[in-house]
Subunit: 335 residues, 2 copies
DNA sequence: ATCCCCCTCGAAAGCGTTTTCGAAATCAGA
DNA sequence: TCTGATTTCGAAAACGCTTTCGAGGGGGAT
């Protein structure tokens, strides 16, 4: 059906060996023969089969992008998309094809990690959206396929990660609020199955400590990164301490939910309660009030993950990449 | 390196043929031999190479997901992600692997369509986010690889599509506004390189006509689906006709931009100007005011696209799928 | 004229599967 | 016990490519 290297060889009156050499830029071939072959191949609109090539070279030139919980409308929703873009862009730029595989722990549709890698001969894998208790994780850590984790600070023989300095990010948020004069600052954290939650909690604590503010149990609530949970949490926090004047949310989406509920409760933002979000979603700039947030370089996560991967595939054992957070001021924390 | 079918054969003391047969459920094999082979394969954690299999079977069991303008933060931003999820879910459910390829017309990084298909032996392709003037389109239409288009109403020999009834959707929006008593209704449309824009324009016109309202040139503005353009357009429209009391936006994002700008101009929504969006983004429910919108079954787009694909791969020539829009009321059009 | 080396190219093996074709073994019926 | 059908299995080719190894030819040096 499809046109093969043999056809080109026949057409050019040479052997397949010669065609292969011409196409792959080997030196031991007469320049004019090469030109002729190239021309014929182009005219015939010939493109070598990546499959056949993979088989013989034992390299697929493909990397996997595995996302847990993609089907969950959930947590990283807005975050994930940009990371996907980054991974895609860099993979393409480097000549790798991307195989997307979104798994879903709940529905048991998980294909064992190893199997996927073996089946498609993946040269490396970018893994994201994984909970701390996800079964994938164990498999990955002792598999031999290079793996770059996004927002999961674990390393192993063939495994490293890229993430934000979440501790620093959370601290930035708290510092910003302290500068604005707040002393009673709540935290609406994400669920504990997310690695980032622990770090943001830590950063929150450090931020308070540096300001000489003792941490209080009732200032911390746990949501699930979703809008609704942000609303519920802020209500709970206010019930526990009506004097609360500020809250730091571990996701912009929860921040939006919180602001929404605050309005319903008759509280003004930022006059009565100031709010800081996390993620740096574009839409936060266009809300009323616009939301102060810790911005993550999401696209770059993807790019760097692929970069880590190719370095690992080259035999290196690169250090994890920890990107710096930035605070973007909005109206939700006043001027 | 990796364990192959030969290893299993040797282990079991049979030929590779027999192993292949056992694994693939052929009947001509003694039940107990099959069991033994299966056991051995499982113990060895063996998984057949999809690559080798593809080569000999000339079927890759892989479909491509090609997205133009993914790198554009742009237009379908929020829409695309859900469609991707749908494609992924259904592809997995049906046992196909997904190869993601986001191209970018601007940066010329486009890999010719045909080449991609040939290289990876794709059995079918889902194509989305393509402009009317995109070079891909021509290639696709006369290629022989089955192709399912999303939101691009074109058919060809091996090509069909899934989309929303955009005419009906726009009409729903206008009807809703008319019911609320509006007579001067503007349209903030998307750019004309999007297929959907033409249809939404048509639906807008029909909606007005049915209400006996003559369409006026200056009621129509063209944005690019982005927030900023929504803001600019509403300002222009109001400049052209200060009496405007309602506007229908061809994307939720533009609607948000428009509402934002309206507030800045001292107009109340919906009291002074009512706004309807398009897409049915979740976040529209959580804004103040929440946005009335035409909801698209985005996830289902992906699912149906894959369904179309497999039917085409089976030799059928299925009819296009046109899904029905639904209006979801928010506060932006009053009660 | 001889020898050696370099340049250019082809034959063939091999990658891990599936599948065709036929052979061996088993079984039924007589 | 023999025949023929049926069941169970193996040898080998094929898929499209890369790569090793070596052959042939031309040119320069001796």
């Amino acid at each position: 059906m499809s046109i093969t290297i043999k056809d080109i060889a026949k057409q050019a009156g040479v052997s397949v060996t010669t065609v292969s050499r011409a196409l792959n830029g080997y030196p031991d071939i007469k320049p004019e023969t090469r030109q002729r072959i190239l021309r014929i191949a182009a005219e015939a609109n010939y493109h070598p089969s990546a499959i056949a090539r993979s088989l013989v070279m034992k390299k697929s030139r493909a990397i996997g992008l595995i996302i847990s919980e993609l089907t969950d409308l959930g947590s990283g929703y807005h975050m994930l998309f940009d990371v996907i873009r980054g991974v895609n862009d860099q993979a393409m730029a480097l000549g790798y094809d991307l195989i997307l595989s979104a798994t879903d722990p709940e529905q048991q549709r998980e294909i064992p990690y190893i199997e996927l890698c073996q089946r498609r001969q993946l040269e490396g894998v970018v893994l994201m959206g994984v909970r701390t208790d996800d079964p994938y994780l164990k498999e990955v850590l002792d598999a031999s396929v290079p793996c770059a984790l996004v927002d999961i600070p674990l390393t192993a023989d063939s495994c490293t990660y890229v993430t934000l300095d979440n501790v620093q990010g959370a601290k930035l948020a708290v510092q910003h609020l302290v500068e604005r004069g707040h002393r009673r600052i709540g935290l609406i954290n994400g669920h504990n199955q997310a690695f980032v939650s622990r770090e943001r909690w830590k950063g929150y604590g450090e931020g308070l400590k540096e300001a000489g503010i003792p941490l209080r149990e009732e200032w911390v609530a746990y949501g699930d990164f979703e809008q609704e949970s942000g609303a519920e949490c802020i209500e709970n926090l206010l019930a526990a301490d009506p004097e609360l004047t500020a809250v730091f949310c571990a996701s912009d989406i929860m921040a939006i939910g919180a602001i929404q509920r605050l309005k319903q409760l008759g509280k003004r933002v930022p006059e009565d309660v100031a709010v800081v979000g996390f993620d740096g979603l574009e839409l936060t700039q266009f809300l009323t009030p616009s939301v102060t947030t810790i911005v993550q370089p999401r696209h770059r996560f993807g790019v760097e993950a692929v970069n880590l991967l190719v370095r690992m595939m080259a035999g290196e054992t690169p250090e994890p990449i920890i990107l710096n957070p930035e605070l973007r001021e909005g109206q939700s924390t006043g001027k």
